[in-house]
Symmetry: C2
Subunit: 495 residues, 2 copies
């Protein structure tokens, strides 16, 4: 892309200044429209050292109300950050609806830097590119405007600027070893940047190459032109339904809920206690091993109200060293969560390598409660199956074991348990009007769950149905599935 870049014609000074003024004003007005339309806007500045990213950013933001934008900068990841998926720290600061985040620089610097330092081989590089593209598409499809700039300048001009900065005692500090290295090995870097740009140049998040080698005002004008154009386009697109993607993941066929037999799925107490002890012991041992090997584990619980999620989770955590796991109870999203991509609050909660995260209700709320209560559009939840499969696929490729449980009971069992809860003063808090309302929607939920399991039971993150009329049975089955999955992964990764 860089070699074929054809810059636009720079207008004469007078025309340039007039257009700049006009577009700065427009950007200020655009900000109000963005807020009204609840459009989140990500603006990414990458490019050559000494290309003037910071200076231009300073000019561009001066007409935006500071309450509506954030500037986010990234250095090399810390050791702690490296224990999470590469992409996580870049996602933590995605803008809320109606606001801007300016990223200076963004992921390119880390990715290409890792290639140069030999931290990322070809496979790892490709996987990273895939992950970036998938996530940017998901952000776009869920309503985010992404604008990505690459500030381009030639080798000679870069050298001239570096020398000028070095000559002045006040600006000397702005030149670092990386800038010098870039200029020395310009063509190697150019190749690397070019590949990165072309592989992340997606229709939903295209790169705009900006001529940053002429003068600052011209660079600024180009940036203003593309930002304001893109905002117009995004506002025009706002509210359009996004096409559902074809499934490309290998799926595992599971029975429909109505076909799941609950009869005979029970364990009497003696057997239960024996099995519990055995599997809990095993799980404790396995936790040590996965911790040592840095394998992250994600366990998601979904199921009917009163199916016994809490008790089931408790039997799992009893076996675990508390320093190595976290249980995340998932309730309705808070405003800061509701104003971002629906997976954002879960991305925050991804475990570190070697840790276990247990989710009491999960991101599948998108295709259950949010679907049935109309908290998102039909198009939103229909798209979510694939978005979730992609999210889990990338977690799996990162190394995570993903286990998903559906706790199944029949409607009569639920009724019995609801009534028992109401009768027990210690358990009355566990039963609310909402539970009764959800119960009225049993058949709608059943349909949604069947569709969810059909479309998201992938070979890498299958659903497991836990027959839970007898809680003993369900608890032992959960422990069995977890221990088997961990053993399987440990055996695999030993090769």
């Amino acid at each position: 892309m860089l070699k074929e870049f054809i810059p636009a014609r720079r207008p004469e000074d007078k025309a340039l200044n007039a257009e700049r003024k006009a577009l700065e004003k427009k950007l200020g007005e655009d900000q109000l429209k963005i807020t009204a339309a609840k459009l989140p806007v990500m603006v990414v500045f990458e490019g050559w050292g000494a290309a003037g990213k910071g200076t231009v950013l300073g000019k561009v933001i001066k007409d935006i109300d500071p309450r509506f934008f954030k500037v986010k900068s990234f250095g090399p990841p810390t050791k702690e950050e490296r224990a999470y998926p590469f992409i996580r720290r870049y996602l933590l600061d995605i803008p809320e609806n109606g606001k801007f985040t300016f990223f200076v620089p963004y992921m390119m610097e880390e990715v290409t830097g890792d290639v140069i330092k030999g931290h990322l081989d070809e496979d790892g590089y490709q996987q990273t590119i895939d992950e970036i593209n998938t996530m940017e598409r998901s952000l776009h499809d869920n309503g985010t405007l992404l604008i990505k700039f690459f500030f381009h300048l030639g080798r000679k001009e870069q050298k001239r600027r570096i020398q000028k900065l070095q000559e002045n005692a006040d600006t000397k500090w702005r030149v670092d070893a990386e800038d010098l290295n870039e200029n020395k090995h310009y063509h190697d870097y150019e190749k690397l940047y070019d590949r990165y740009l072309s592989e992340t140049n997606q229709s939903y998040a295209p790169w705009v190459i900006v001529d940053a080698g002429t003068d600052k005002k011209w660079t600024e004008l180009q940036v203003l032109r593309f930002i304001t154009q893109s905002i117009d386009t995004a506002l025009q697109n706002k509210g359009l339904a996004v096409p559902i993607l074809q499934n490309r993941f290998p799926l595992v066929r599971e029975p429909k809920l109505a076909e799941v037999s609950l009869d005979g799925k029970s364990l009497e107490d003696g057997e239960y206690r024996k099995a519990l002890k055995k599997y809990q012991k095993k799980l404790g041992d396995l936790q040590n091993r996965i911790h040592r090997r840095g394998i992250p584990v994600i366990i998601g619980y979904e199921g009917w109200d009163a199916a016994g999620k809490g008790g089931n989770i408790k039997r799992v955590t009893e076996a675990l060293d508390p320093r190595g796991y976290t249980v995340h109870p998932i309730a309705a999203p808070e405003p800061r969560e509701k104003n971002r991509h629906y997976l954002w609050r879960f991305i925050e909660k991804i475990p570190q390598k070697g840790d276990i995260a247990i989710f009491d209700r999960t991101w599948y709320g998108r295709v259950m409660v949010e679907r049935l209560e109309g908290f998102c559009s039909v198009n939103d939840w229909q798209r979510a199956y694939n978005e979730i499969n992609e999210f889990e696929y990338d977690l799996n490729r990162w190394g995570a074991v993903i286990i998903k449980f559906w706790l199944q009971i029949d409607s009569d069992t639920q009724l019995k348990r609801f009534k028992a809860r109401e009768a027990d003063p210690d358990k009355q808090w566990k039963i609310t009007d909402e539970d009764w309302r959800n119960r009225d929607k049993w058949s709608q939920y059943e349909q949604a769950v069947n569709e969810m399991i059909e479309k998201t039971s992938t070979a890498f993150a299958p659903w497991h149905i836990l027959e839970s009329c007898d809680k003993n049975y369900a608890r032992v089955k959960a422990l069995k599935i977890i221990t088997e999955a961990l053993e399987h992964r440990l055996a695999e990764s030993a090769h």
Copy 2:
């Protein structure tokens, strides 16, 4: 992608056969729905040699009415095909609305083959990938369903199959040098395929990796599953508006038509003849040079009715060797053209390297007559600006010089010329009721033309306005622009 591929679980024989039968039947029914919905379907089969692509294809098509599908196979490109953009021959057989085309194999074999043979360097490879992705997205956005399969099998299994084929005199011919080579250098090929797959694995045209190493029936079932799923998804998406993309191309600002001064833009006959002679001579010489250097040239003419396109074109072709140019008069599309992507009939007409194609009216009909007459949806023409920029960008990168003319006259001049035509028995055929109807829509056309020029005058394919109240002036200006553009390109490519 190949290394991380996790196959789905193969069902037991009985379940497998039942599902296969059911899905074959569904595919037959789907064909009727596809025809009714006018959905074009492209199915691509690529993969390892001896993976059974042909056999599985034979099974899959047997339940589709043969009038509704085509099978298209590709060998290495001929010398003539190499004189066109790489992608052209793959596009000539895209399906009509309501029909299938099965491509076995498709572009992967040529691209990876060229990399292996050293015909494609890193830059060329990236450019090719970009072109493929851009075109597949444009096909998708304009309503095509793309399903791409990669038939995957391990090295040992491939070897076993090759040996089995070789042992039998009847099947020996099916093993070629390429298959043997692939097996010998399996891991090198795997790397190459993997990169290709991951870089062309787009949300609008994803790759499905199929486990082709177990048995044919299972491979067939996987293919049937993904085809039928994808058709369901595509039918569900049918008719959704597609988001407009952000502009990422450097634009050249041009005046609005109303700001173009026509006064004084004239040449008296003596001057005209002198200039004509000079530029025609120059153009003739330049044609020889661009022909020798293999530079393709595309000249598009648009303009008001009676602005003088025909006469202008004639002054250009007078200077040219007829073996090196073609004039394409563009009328309303024929049914076979109307049933495909709107750029298809122009892709057919791209000149060979070294040739000149002159279009009397162009693909810009999409954003003028098709827009104003409602021949396409609002979303269709709004999307077209970017699609056309991408189309021209790829032609430019391939090496084409692109020159676009708008012949500008005022409404009074048009009226005068219409009346003169009606009065002249030799020219009456040139004026029709449609011309008068178009004239009534002058201000709507003016708005459309202004928008077109604003959004598609790119740095690599700018619009040139030819003031044509005086035809002498317009003809000389056209020749001047063409000769300058060719000289410029020749000078550039001499470096």
